[in-house]
């Protein structure tokens, strides 16, 4: 199933990736090519087959609920592009009233 340019715009918005001039056509074409191969999955009859999400043999191991050392605030912020007063700093998340 080929991907339309409108679908590329929608997916890019969901994935939080900006599109620059040329990107829409580029991804519509490339993702359509890959999906054409992937569509062969529809040939497989698998209605009664359970899905496999992972192949791990352990389930929900729990550790003892005791406090232990963790990163300091300073260490946690050391790689932050912008920090202020011990917080990560981000641009405004809503319009001013």
């Amino acid at each position: 199933m080929p991907l339309t340019r409108a679908q590329v715009r929608h997916v890019a918005q969901l994935a939080r990736i900006a599109l620059e001039p040329g990107d829409e056509e580029f991804y519509a074409e490339q993702l359509s090519g890959i999906l054409e191969h992937i569509d062969r999955l529809q040939e497989v009859k698998a209605d009664d087959i359970p899905p496999t999400a992972q192949v791990v043999e352990v389930t929900n191991p729990l550790r003892d609920d005791v406090p232990r050392p963790c990163l300091t605030q300073e260490e946690a912020l050391a790689n932050a592009p912008a920090a202020v007063n011990g917080f990560f700093r981000v641009p405004s998340i809503q319009e001013e009233a």
């Binding site: 993702l31 890959i34 497989v44 192949v55 990163l71």
Partner: protein, 486 residues
């Protein structure tokens, strides 16, 4: 002494214990080798003198006291997806430029504890997405056997470093073949363990249900030693198994009486080169002559493996890579109107083309209206692929095939067609979908370039994969050699 860069661990450990050489001399020999060839190979993104100086000194102190183990003083290269405290770690991506992890991952810290000496950080495809290391956000790595060709990927820098004698051992990660395929095309040994064998704590995640950390080396024994040192339960990774670490059991017992399965589908895949096919069939003949029984097996859903993988891996990546938002670490576009604008522009600029392509593909496959047709269906096909392996392993102890259907290809020859790049992994990704251990061992050449024999074993049977690979090494006398690098 250039030959110091051609030793195996056992040979180096012997010289270190005899005090014929010191760990500092061993590291210096590798640094000199790097100075001579790495401007051509470009296996490394960064070097770590601050680590190798201290670690080599400590190794020499231990050796002086007749302490330490086989890995004490052994020069190690680490793929740029494994966090090392204070050492810039970027997953081959511009979005993480400058990131210095506040902690060291378990696999690396276990090798440090065993005495390994870290030389540097190796190049890879961005976020381990690729089969040629051409998707690195920094520069491509070259194949030491032919500098105009790719070293495979995504762990191409680790494979090339070991092949070129720039490191004695290296570690990488394998999500669809990213250890085994570069090992094959660079002519070294590379192993992906069973999912859960090695802790993923401190690994920058690509696809969490598929990723595993594993070793590169120039002999099967060396690979086994490195794996042994990294393996075992880690409370910091909830998927790590608490099974006993028995990967080196029966290592040297040979293949007499073992049944080795040849999946007919794996010898008939799209794009299989005749020279690769010939070299691998000859290798299997050598195993038969060494006493193995060769049996035909079938993996009927092989044709659907790539499609299943290229839904599951991108879906998991689209979720894992959501954390790169310009807030906590790495690149951040600051000249913006609001936070959504910052997310979107940071991710457009920071991620390369292939990473963006996979995030979009995964996001699409998980989006409303497409989830059942793509993601759920791919997971059902994953079940069928796993069952194929279960049925095949009822008839044989291990599965043998080529690792890569092609030898190292010319740089730039597949970058325009993503699907042709993805097809490089067609013989390896089944092992990831089913969580199996797999090893690639050099088995001769085609067109003058290295070919790899892949051995896949049932889950938790690294011992079987290593035993078969070792038996091949002994029977054939084929050794991983150090490329001279023109």
């Amino acid at each position: 002494m250039s030959e110091l860069t051609e030793l195996t661990i056992a040979e180096a450990a012997r010289l270190l214990r005899l005090h014929s050489i010191s760990a500092s001399e061993l590291v210096t020999a590798h640094v000199e080798r790097i100075n001579k060839v790495d401007h051509l190979v470009k296996a490394f993104l960064r070097f770590t003198p601050e680590l190798w100086e201290k670690q080599a000194e400590e190794a020499d102190r231990q050796l002086h006291r007749e302490e330490g183990g086989l890995l004490t003083g052994i020069p190690l290269a680490v793929k740029d997806v494994l966090c090392v405290k204070g050492i810039e770690t970027t997953a081959g991506s511009q979005i993480l430029r400058g990131f210095r992890p506040p902690y060291t991952g378990t696999a690396v810290s276990r090798l440090f504890d065993a005495g390994a000496v870290m030389i540097g950080v190796t190049n890879c495809d961005e976020f381990a997405m690729g089969s040629s290391t051409e998707n690195s956000g920094y520069f491509p790595t070259h194949n030491p056997w032919d500098l105009d060709r790719v070293p495979g990927g995504s762990s191409g820098g680790s494979a090339a470093a070991v092949a070129a004698g720039e490191a004695m051992i290296a570690i990488g990660t394998d999500t669809g073949g990213s250890i085994r395929q570069p090992a094959a095309v660079c002519g070294v040994v590379g192993m992906k363990p069973t999912y859960g064998r090695v802790s993923r704590y401190g690994l920058i995640a690509f696809a969490s249900s598929l990723d595993q950390i594993g070793p590169f080396a120039r002999s099967v024994e060396d690979a086994a030693l490195v794996l042994d040192a990294m393996a075992g339960n880690d409370p910091l990774d909830a998927t790590s198994s608490d099974r006993p670490n028995d990967v080196r059991r029966d290592f040297d017992k040979g293949v007499k009486g073992m049944r080795l399965g040849m999946p007919r589908e794996y010898f008939d895949v799209e794009g299989m080169e005749p020279g690769v096919n010939d070299a691998v069939r000859e290798a299997i003949k050598a195993l038969e002559n060494a006493g193995a029984e060769i049996v035909d097996v079938t993996l009927p859903h092989t044709d659907y493996g790539l499609a299943s993988y290229y839904i599951i891996a991108p879906a998991e990546c689209s979720s894992n890579l959501a954390r790169f938002d310009g807030v906590k670490y790495g690149m951040s576009v600051q000249d913006v109107d609001n936070i959504t604008d910052m997310y979107m522009r940071t991710r457009r600029q920071g991620f390369g083309e292939e990473v963006r392509r996979r995030i979009m593909l995964g996001t699409y496959a998980l989006s409303t209206g497409y989830y059942d047709a793509y993601y759920l269906k791919a997971q059902k096909v994953r079940t069928l692929i796993k069952r194929d392996f279960d049925e095949a392993f009822a008839k044989c102890d291990a599965i043998v095939s080529a690792t890569s259907p092609v030898v190292a290809f010319p740089m730039g020859s597949r970058t325009q067609d993503p699907l042709s790049m993805y097809l490089c992994d067609v013989l390896t990704l089944g092992g990831n979908l089913a969580g199996l251990p797999g090893i690639s061992v050099p088995c001769g050449t085609s067109q003058g370039l290295p070919v790899g024999l892949q051995v896949l074993a049932p889950q938790w049977r690294e011992d079987v994969a290593l035993r078969v690979a070792r038996a091949y090494e002994v029977a054939s006398g084929v050794k991983a050699e150090v490329a001279s690098v023109a």
